[in-house]
């Protein structure tokens, strides 16, 4: 990072204020913030989109993680109030790795703030938060508990925030050119190369589900999902969105209730991922192979992989066939993970937070890809906190709260 960029960034910062950097993917935002926190790192702290890696890995409970950062018993430290505001107190005895993405983000933010850095750089780290927790987090960053010299934030949802922050465009900070090769944009028209499928209708009847001996996360959920439609699933962090996705994909066996596929009772958990493929929100968990081509399931040069290549091209991954997926930048890893799920062409496709790390142009193209998949008679369920994406896919809304799902149909832009 040039000295100039660092000085420009410092000059733009106000004490105890949030500075948001606006810019598209691959514009150098992440590199700029990473280097800003390395060069003259005294008191500067970086929090990236992989929030889980920001936790210490030395503790086995949320309480212990907070006490490690606070240097004292939680009850006597001043972070208890913030933990309450971020709804972490009920999670104190849980292992940090078992938290949902949004809950992990809250924990990572609170741990960072407990250390009182002079400047906190949150690089797309807040994108997994629901609107309420986002506002609470921004309040905390802006308030007396926040970093003394302010916080710098990059976020692809800046235009959705109902929160006034000082914003600067990335170009004004003279960032270094990206060290990654050019990343082609998403190309939704490639989905037209896919053959239509015959996805079945799925009906859930009084489904109750949870984990181990813990409390039920879903309770008596009943709904019917028709193919060829896009369903948006929304709800606060930790409300059970991912659990519902796991039940639908067969990854989690429900405790009670029945699932009908095309009207016939079906044990989805015996053939997980076959009726409904599920893209997990953390892309790194779902990347297994050494190259992008192996991840997507094709051999470079083979002629039999037309559908896979169409999906690859739709996600702009042509230039990365031989790359190691985990060596790619976060937004590209997310694309690889999305493409790997879709390339297997499951009749139903469940996408959990597909817009993480995606800029406005990518979100618009992603929405078009999703609509195209529905036109090919796939059923698609999208879990997201991105208002932009939810608005673009408006039509069939599923809302989950306290383990119960409500289903509404609203006037929508036609998919077909």
């Amino acid at each position: 990072m040039s000295r100039k960029s660092s000085e420009l960034l410092l000059a733009a910062l106000d004490s105890r204020r949030i500075l948001a950097i606006d810019g598209p993917n691959f514009s150098g935002r992440s590199d700029l913030l990473r280097r800003f926190c390395r060069v003259n790192a005294d008191g500067r702290m970086y929090l990236g989109p992989e929030v889980y890696f920001a936790l210490s890995g030395l503790t086995t409970s949320v309480r212990q993680e907070l006490e490690l950062h606070a240097g004292g018993v939680l009850e006597t430290s001043d972070c208890l109030e913030s933990a309450e505001k971020l709804k972490l107190t009920k999670l104190f005895e849980q292992h940090p790795a078992t938290l949902s993405g949004g809950e992990q983000t809250c924990l990572a933010i609170l741990c960072a703030m407990i250390l009182r850095p002079k400047i906190l750089a949150a690089d797309c780290a807040l994108e997994q938060l629901d609107s309420q927790k986002l506002e609470t987090s921004l309040d905390l960053l802006n308030g007396a508990t926040g970093p003394a010299n302010g916080a710098v934030i990059t976020d692809n949802r800046l235009d959705e925030w109902n929160y006034a922050v000082k914003t600067i465009v990335i170009g004004e900070l003279s960032p270094d050119p990206s060290r990654h090769p050019p990343v082609p944009p998403l190309d939704p028209s490639q989905i037209e190369r896919l053959n239509p499928v015959r996805a079945p209708a799925i009906e859930l009847q009084n489904i109750t589900a949870g984990y181990g001996n813990g409390p039920d996360v879903l309770s008596g959920v009943s709904m019917t999902l028709q193919p060829g439609r896009v369903y948006t699933l929304r709800g606060p962090n930790g409300s059970g969105k991912s659990t519902l996705a796991k039940v639908l994909s067969g990854v989690l066996r429900p405790v009670a209730g029945q699932i009908l596929v095309s009207g016939v009772a079906s044990n989805l958990w015996k053939t997980p991922g076959k009726i409904a493929g599920y893209h997990l929100q953390n892309p790194d968990v779902g990347l297994f192979e050494a190259t992008v081509s192996a991840e997507l399931g094709y051999k470079p040069g083979a002629n039999s992989a037309g559908a896979v290549l169409a999906v690859r091209d739709a996600f702009g991954l042509q230039n990365f066939a031989a790359s190691n997926p985990l060596a790619l930048p976060f937004p590209v890893r997310k694309r690889v993970s999305l493409a790997a799920t879709i390339a297997r062409l499951p009749p139903w496709i469940i996408l959990d937070e597909p817009t993480l790390g995606a800029d406005a142009a990518t979100i618009a193209a992603l929405a078009e890809i999703i609509r195209s998949l529905a036109r090919k008679q796939h059923g698609v369920i999208v879990i997201s906190h991105s208002k932009k994406l939810l608005e673009m896919l408006r039509g069939n809304e599923l809302k989950i709260e306290n383990g119960a799902v409500s289903q509404t149909q609203v006037a929508s832009t036609a998919i077909g």
Binding site: M45, T60, S249
Partner: protein, 244 residues
């Protein structure tokens, strides 16, 4: 066991180890295994111990009995083939000692509640990087397990793996690469985090006061292990305790 103070916990472990090596009676070793199983059950650790016995101890016992009772047909120090029964008994003695030691380690180490772990490790004299490494060792097992589960979930979610336990078992080799890669990535990321957040200093500031250690639990724990040591000595060297 969860409230036993660090010093008593360590003393209990050391006494148990000594007593186990002194003991040469299979029946006594069997009795202490039952006692350990009861204590482990009280700490909800019995399942782990039974897994250890089934998947580690039992195969090892079969191997040992085969080698000393069937191949060597004699205990160590005796001519080969001279005493098959003695060879098998020797193998059983070693196996039962290992079963006791395994149970003792699980009882002493795994019953430490996460909240008391740093204070316990410091109570054992661990400092600096040693303390960080020890904390990491305790944290890494549940984390690796969770990560392995997440990888299985991700493979199932993509339709690459069936839903049965057997399907999961067959995929074990496929788990190793992503697990290994994740461990490396995690180590690299966390090295940055630890440095940036001065974790080495922070682990020393973890609370040690007002923790629910119970001196009574400590006394009971040490007393029980001394009792076991006394029994072991009494049977091995009765004269030492004035027993004829």
């Amino acid at each position: 066991m969860s409230r036993v103070p660090p010093a008593a916990r360590l003393a209990t472990l050391l006494i148990l180890i000594v007593a186990t090596f002194i003991n040469t009676r299979l029946v006594l070793l069997g009795a202490i295994i039952v006692a350990l199983a009861i204590l482990l059950a009280m700490d909800h650790l019995l399942g782990r111990y039974l897994k250890f016995l089934a998947f580690v101890q039992l195969p090892m016992t079969i191997m040992l009995v085969a080698v000393w009772g069937w191949v060597a047909k004699a205990p160590p120090g005796m001519p080969m083939g001279s005493d098959p029964h003695g060879g098998a008994m020797f193998a059983l003695l070693i196996s039962l000692r290992l079963a006791v030691l395994g149970g003792a380690f699980q009882l002493i180490m795994l019953s430490i509640p996460s909240r008391l772990l740093p204070a316990t490790l410091r109570g054992w004299g661990l400092r600096g990087e040693g303390l960080v490494v020890a904390l990491g060792v305790f944290a890494v097992e549940p984390e690796l397990k969770l990560r392995a589960e997440q990888i299985l979930v991700a493979r199932r979610a993509r339709g690459l793996l069936g839903g049965s336990r057997w399907a999961g078992l067959k995929q074990l080799p496929r788990l190793l690469r992503p697990l290994f890669v994740w461990s490396i990535r995690s180590a690299v990321h966390r090295a940055d985090v630890w440095e940036q957040r001065a974790m080495l200093l922070r682990v020393h500031r973890l609370p040690t006061e007002s923790l629910p250690f119970s001196p009574v639990a400590g006394v009971v724990s040490v007393a029980l292990s001394i009792l076991w040591l006394g029994v072991a000595i009494a049977f091995r060297w009765p004269g030492l305790l004035g027993i004829r």
